[in-house]
C-alpha cells in the first residue's frame, strides 16, 4: 500500500526546506473548487470530532490551523528576527512580515509588496531608488513610510551582530527624498542590491522606526509584542514554543495583502508544532490541522483515513512539483577523482533515473536534467529553449567515439513505471511532461564504463571498480539524518544505483552534515547540487555567483562559503560578471546569460541534478476549501512560505 522513505522523528529538525511562493499582483482567476472527491479508497474515519472538541480555544470555523515546519520554537517570546534565527515560519514570515518585494514561483513573477514598483537603478548601479506603497499602516496605527526603511538600513549597517549587517556595508548613503521614496547610494556598483529585500523564504524586513529608535540594545531586544505590516497580528503563543496564534487586523485593508488581494478569510491562524509526523497525520484525520507538509507515506496515510483531505494534485503523484529548489548530488570537485568531469559524467550515466525515482519517491517526482528547478517559469524560459541544444549535446568517449546522453523519453518510462505500480497516470504526453519532467540523462552503464576506462579506471575480478592506482574505489554520500528530507531520499537512491554499477558506496548519515559540507569533508553530498535560484524571476545570478572562483577556498577542511562543490570555471566567472552588469529588469538578456551558464554546468556536471524538490503537502478541506491545487494554481501552495498571506483571501470557509 505504501512506500518511500520518510521519516520519523522530525527531530533533527531545523529542516531547511525552501519551497515556493505565490500570488500574482494582477487579478487572480479563482475557480470554485469542485466538491471534495475521494483520492484513495477512504476507510471509515474514526470518530469524527464533536463540535465542542474542535474549539481548542478558537472558534473552529473561523480558524485555520497550519503546521510549523521548522519545529518547536527555541525562543518563543522573542520576535526580534533581525538577530539570529527565530523560527519565523511560526507565522512571523507568513502573516506579520511584509517585504519590499515577494517572489511568486508558482505563477512566475515578483510581487510588489511594500514597494509600489520594481527597483530603479542608475546607469552604473551605484544608486537604487524604491517607490513605496502609500497608505500602509503598522498594526499600532502608525503609518509606514520611507523613514522606516531608511532607519532600518542605517541601523542594520551600524549594528554588529544583526543579520544583514555585513551585507549592508556597501551602502554609502540612504535617504528619503519624500515620504514614499527611498534612495540608496552604494559604494560599489551592485545591480542586485535590492534582492536583500526580496522575500524568498526570508529577506531583510523593515523595522518600525518609532519602536526601534527607542531601543538601546537591539541585540537583546525581545520585540514582544511585535508590530505587524501584514494582515494579522500576534494573538497569543505557547511559552514552550509549540504554537503561535494570530488574529486578523481590523484594518487589514491598510496592509499590502488587503490592498492586493482583499480580506483574508480566516479570522485566526494558528501555527502548531508536531514533533512526530505520525501525530501530524492523526491531527489531520481529526480535522485539527488544516495544512501540513508531510512525507509521501504520511500523505498517503492522511488521504486513506480522511476523505476530506486532499493533496496538491488530486491523483498520483499528489506532491507539489513546482518548488524552486533542485535536489540531487553534489560532488566535492576538489577531491580526486571527482575533480575529473568525465568521472562525474560517468557517475551520472551509471544512474537509471527510473529505478532511482522508484527508490527515492516511488516515482512521485519531477526529474530535472538541468541544475535549476522545473518551476513553470524556468520550464518555459530554460528547459524548453534549451531542448534542441540538449538533444545535440555530445560526450567524447575517446577513440573517436561519441555519445549523446540526453534522453527525452525518460518521463514516459517513469509514467510507465507508475502505471505498473497501479497508479492512475495521465495519457497526454504534455501532461506527462508537466508531471514527471522534460527528460533526463540516459542510463548507459557501458558508456560510463568507457569514460572511466578512458581515465585509467579498471574493473577488478569481482566486477568492482578500481581507481587508476589499482585500489578499490570506495566513497560515501553525505546526508542529514532526517528521513523526511529529499537529501535522504537522494542518498539512498544514489547508493543503490552506484552499488549496482560496481562501486563500494556507503551512505554517511550525519547530523553534523552542514559543517562537513561547509568544510569540504565529504565525497558526494546530497545538499542542494546548485544554490537555489529565485524561481519567480529568470535571474540565475544568485545560483551562479555561488560558483564564483573568487570565493573558492582551495584547501579542504577550511570553511568555504560558496557552493559546497567548490567548483568554478573561468567561463562561468565571465557569465557572473556579465549578469552583474545586467539590469534586473532586462529579462531577455538575463535569460541569454542564464542559458549560457546552464550549458557550462551540463558540460562540467559539478553536481547531478536529479529531481525538483517535491512537497508532500496535505490540506484538509473540512473547514476550508479553494486551496491552490494543481488544477487551480492561483498562488504558491505552501503555508510556510511568506506568500501564505496572499493565499488566505481566496480560501473559502465551508461553514462547518
Amino acid at each position: 500500500m505504501s512506500h518511500k522513505p520518510f521519516a520519523l522523528p522530525s527531530l533533527l529538525l531545523i529542516l531547511f526546506w525552501m519551497l515556493s511562493a505565490c500570488a500574482p499582483a494582477a487579478p487572480v482567476v479563482v475557480e470554485k473548487e469542485v466538491v471534495v472527491e475521494k483520492v484513495v479508497t477512504p476507510t471509515p474515519v474514526p470518530a469524527p470530532p464533536k463540535e465542542e472538541k474542535i474549539v481548542m480555544g478558537f472558534p473552529r470555523s473561523e480558524t485555520l490551523f497550519a503546521q510549523q515546519l521548522t519545529g518547536r520554537a527555541g525562543t518563543p517570546d522573542n520576535f526580534n528576527e533581525w538577530v539570529g534565527w527565530k523560527n519565523r515560519d511560526r507565522g512571523m514570515a507568513q502573516l506579520m512580515n511584509e517585504p519590499l518585494w515577494t517572489i511568486e514561483y508558482a505563477v512566475g513573477e515578483v510581487i510588489n509588496s511594500l514597494a509600489a514598483a520594481p527597483p530603479q537603478y542608475n546607469e552604473d548601479f551605484t544608486q537604487m531608488t524604491v517607490k513605496l506603497r502609500e497608505g500602509v499602516y503598522w498594526s499600532d496605527g502608525v503609518e509606514f513610510t520611507a523613514d522606516d526603511v531608511v532607519f532600518t538600513i542605517e541601523k542594520v549597517k551600524a549594528t554588529e551582530g544583526l543579520n544583514y549587517h555585513v551585507q549592508l556595508q556597501g551602502v554609502k548613503n540612504v535617504y528619503a527624498p519624500d515620504k514614499y521614496t527611498v534612495v540608496v547610494e552604494l559604494a560599489e556598483p551592485n545591480s542586485r542590491f535590492h534582492t536583500y529585500f526580496l522575500d524568498r523564504w526570508g529577506s531583510l524586513f523593515i523595522m518600525p522606526k518609532h519602536v526601534f529608535e527607542k531601543v538601546e540594545d537591539i541585540l537583546t531586544f525581545q520585540y514582544n509584542p511585535p508590530l505587524s505590516l501584514g494582515p494579522y497580528v500576534l494573538h497569543s503563543y505557547d511559552p514552550a514554543g509549540f504554537w503561535t496564534a494570530w488574529v486578523l487586523r481590523d484594518d487589514w485593508d491598510r496592509t499590502p495583502t488587503g490592498m492586493l488581494y482583499g480580506k483574508p478569510k480566516p479570522k485566526y491562524v494558528v501555527f502548531v508544532v508536531y514533533q512526530d509526523p505520525a501525530s501530524a497525520v492523526i491531527a489531520q484525520v481529526r480535522h485539527e490541522l488544516d495544512a501540513a507538509q508531510l512525507t509521501l507515506e504520511a500523505l498517503r496515510a492522511v488521504l486513506t483515513q480522511n476523505p476530506h483531505a486532499r493533496a496538491y494534485r488530486r491523483e498520483f503523484p499528489w506532491v507539489v512539483n513546482t518548488d524552486p529548489c533542485i535536489t540531487g548530488l553534489a560532488f566535492n570537485t576538489l577531491k580526486p577523482p571527482f575533480d575529473n568531469r568525465e568521472v562525474r559524467w560517468a557517475l551520472t550515466l551509471a544512474i537509471d533515473i527510473i529505478s532511482y525515482s522508484a527508490n527515492a519517491m516511488d516515482g512521485a517526482l519531477m526529474m530535472s536534467a538541468l541544475l535549476t528547478p522545473s518551476v513553470p517559469l524556468y520550464l518555459k524560459e530554460y528547459y524548453e529553449r534549451m531542448e534542441p541544444w540538449l538533444r545535440d549535446f555530445t560526450l567524447d568517449l575517446g577513440g573517436g567515439e561519441t555519445f549523446k546522453p540526453y534522453d527525452p523519453e525518460a518521463p514516459f518510462r517513469l509514467a510507465e513505471y507508475a502505471r505498473s505500480r497501479g497508479y492512475v497516470v495521465p495519457e497526454d504526453p504534455e501532461e506527462i511532461k508537466k508531471t514527471f519532467g522534460y527528460g533526463w540523462w540516459k542510463y548507459a552503464p557501458d558508456v560510463a564504463a568507457k569514460l572511466l576506462e578512458k581515465n585509467g579506471f579498471t574493473r577488478g575480478r569481482d566486477g568492482k571498480w578500481l581507481l587508476p592506482d589499482g585500489t578499490p574505489w570506495k566513497f560515501t554520500v553525505l546526508t542529514d539524518p532526517n528521513p523526511g528530507h529529499h537529501h535522504y531520499q537522494n542518498t539512498f537512491a544514489a547508493v543503490q544505483e552506484w552499488r549496482k554499477f560496481g562501486i563500494d558506496v556507503e551512505a554517511n548519515v550525519n547530523e553534523m552534515w552542514s559543517t562537513l559540507n561547509l568544510n569540504g569533508q565529504f565525497d558526494v553530498s546530497t545538499a542542494w547540487p546548485a544554490y537555489e535560484p529565485w524561481g519567480g524571476h529568470v535571474d540565475l545570478y544568485r545560483t551562479f555567483d555561488n560558483w564564483n572562483s573568487a570565493y573558492v577556498e582551495r584547501e579542504l577542511g577550511k570553511p568555504h562559503y560558496g557552493h559546497l562543490s567548490r567548483w568554478s570555471d573561468p567561463r562561468m566567472d565571465q557569465i557572473i560578471a556579465a549578469l552583474k552588469a545586467t539590469d534586473w529588469n532586462d529579462t531577455e538578456r538575463i535569460i541569454e546569460l542564464g542559458i549560457e551558464g546552464l550549458k557550462i554546468t551540463v558540460e562540467e556536471m559539478p553536481g547531478i541534478p536529479t529531481y525538483t524538490y517535491v512537497g508532500a503537502l496535505v490540506w484538509d478541506t473540512y473547514y476550508w476549501t479553494n486551496w491552490p491545487g494543481a488544477e487551480n494554481i492561483y498562488a504558491q501552495p505552501y503555508h510556510h512560505w511568506p506568500n501564505f498571506k496572499y493565499m488566505l483571501p481566496f480560501l473559502e470557509p465551508t461553514g462547518r
Binding site: F16, G161, W201, L204, A240, A245, S514, T515, D545, P559
Partner: protein
C-alpha cells in the same frame, strides 16, 4: 569526630571531585565534535533562503565568533566557564543568541520535572511493591500473571509503546489529546480548569513512562527479593513463627529496598536530562529536546547549563542518601 574525619571529609572531597570530573568530561566532549555553534547558526540563517553572497557570510562568521568569545583557546574557555558558573551564570545560548541559557532551561524545566518526578517516584513505588510481592509470594496466581505481563511490556521499544498508546487512546478511541502540554490557546493560570487540562495532556506520556518504569522496577525487585528470601534471618523469623506479612514488610522488603534506593537516586538525577523520545512522540514540552537540539547545534553553553544541573543534582542526591543510609539500614555503620 572520628566519623567526621574518617568518613565525612573524604566523602565530601569525593563529592566535589566527582562533580568536577563529570562536568569537565561534558565540557570537553561536545568540543570534539566537528560542528560548531556559529556555523550551525549561519547554516540555519542561510537556509532561510535569504540572498547572501559568500563573502558576506564569511565576514559574518568571523564577527560572530569574536562576539561569542569562541576565538579563545579551549583552556581559556574552560576557565571562563568556571568563572561564570561560580558566579551563578550559564551565559547566553549560542544558537538562540543572546537569550540566557537559564531562561531557556527555566521554560522547559517545570514540564520535565512535573512529568518525570511523578512518573519516576510512582513507578518506583508501584514496581517495588509488585516486584517484592511477586518475588516473595511466588505461588500466587494473580502475581504470576502480572509477572508475565511485565515480561512482555518491558521489552517493547519505548517509541513503539508511546505511539501505540497514542493510536489507541487518542485516535481509535479519542479519549485523550495526542500531543502538547495543554490545549492550544489556553491561558496558563493556576485555575482548576487549566490544571485539569494539563493533567489530561500529561496522562498518555505519564502512562507510557510509568508502564516502562514499573516493569523495570518490578523485575529488578523481584530478583532481589528472591535472594533476600533465602537469607538466614528470614528463615529464623519463619521458624520463630513471625507472621508472613510481617516478615515480608518488616524484614524482606526493608532490606531489599536498599539497593533500590540508590537506583532511585540515580534515576531522579537523570530526570534533568529530560525524556527525548517521550517529548517527540507526544510533542511534550521539556528539557530532552532542548538538550538534543543543543547537542546537534553545538550550543555549548546550553549543554553545560543542563548537564551541570543534572550532575550536581545526582551527586548531591547520592551524597544525601549515603549520609542517611544508617537510618534505613541499622546494620550499616560508617567506618
Amino acid at each position: 569526630m572520628r566519623f567526621v574525619r574518617r568518613y565525612l571529609i573524604p566523602r565530601l572531597v569525593q563529592y566535589v571531585l566527582v562533580t568536577w570530573l563529570g562536568i569537565t568530561v561534558v565540557f570537553v566532549i561536545p568540543r570534539l565534535l566537528p560542528s560548531d555553534p556559529i556555523e550551525s547558526m549561519v547554516a540555519t540563517l542561510q537556509a532561510q533562503g535569504a540572498y547572501r553572497d559568500p563573502a558576506a557570510v564569511k565576514q559574518m562568521v568571523d564577527t560572530l565568533r569574536d562576539m561569542y568569545g569562541l576565538e579563545a583557546g579551549l583552556l581559556e574557555q574552560y576557565l571562563s566557564f568556571w568563572k561564570r558558573l561560580l558566579s551563578g551564570d550559564f551565559g547566553p545560548s549560542y544558537f538562540s543568541f543572546p537569550t540566557p541559557v537559564i531562561e531557556l532551561i527555566g521554560r522547559s524545566f517545570p514540564w520535565t520535572i512535573g512529568l518525570l518526578l511523578t512518573t519516576t517516584v510512582l513507578s518506583w513505588i508501584i514496581g517495588n511493591v509488585t516486584g517484592g510481592l511477586s518475588g516473595y509470594f511466588t505461588g500466587n496466581g494473580m502475581l504470576k500473571i502480572f509477572d508475565g505481563i511485565v515480561m512482555f511490556v518491558r521489552p517493547i521499544p519505548y517509541y513503539v509503546l508511546g505511539l501505540t498508546l497514542v493510536i489507541l487512546f487518542a485516535y481509535l478511541l479519542p479519549l485523550f489529546p495526542f500531543g502538547g502540554g495543554y490545549t492550544i490557546g489556553a491561558q496558563i493560570a493556576f485555575t482548576w480548569d487549566f490544571i485539569k487540562d494539563v493533567l489530561r495532556h500529561a496522562f498518555l506520556p505519564a502512562l507510557s513512562l510509568s508502564l516502562l518504569g514499573i516493569a523495570v522496577n518490578h523485575q529488578t525487585m523481584r530478583l532481589i527479593i528472591q535472594g533476600v528470601k533465602e537469607e538466614d534471618y528470614i528463615r529464623y523469623a519463619k521458624i520463630a513463627a513471625v507472621k508472613e506479612q510481617t516478615i515480608f514488610s518488616r524484614y524482606a522488603m526493608r532490606n531489599a529496598l536498599l539497593p533500590q534506593i540508590t537506583g532511585l537516586t540515580l534515576s531522579l538525577g537523570q530526570i534533568f536530562g529530560g525524556a527525548l523520545i517521550t517529548e517527540i512522540v507526544f510533542s511534550y514540552p521539556g528539557l530532552g529536546f532542548l538538550l538534543y537540539r543543543a547537542v546537534v547545534n553545538s550550543d555549548y553553553n546550553l549543554i553545560m547549563g543542563i548537564t551541570t544541573i543534572s550532575i550536581v543534582a545526582i551527586t548531591t542526591l547520592i551524597l544525601i542518601v549515603d549520609l542517611l543510609y544508617p537510618l534505613f539500614d541499622p546494620r550499616i555503620r560508617f567506618r
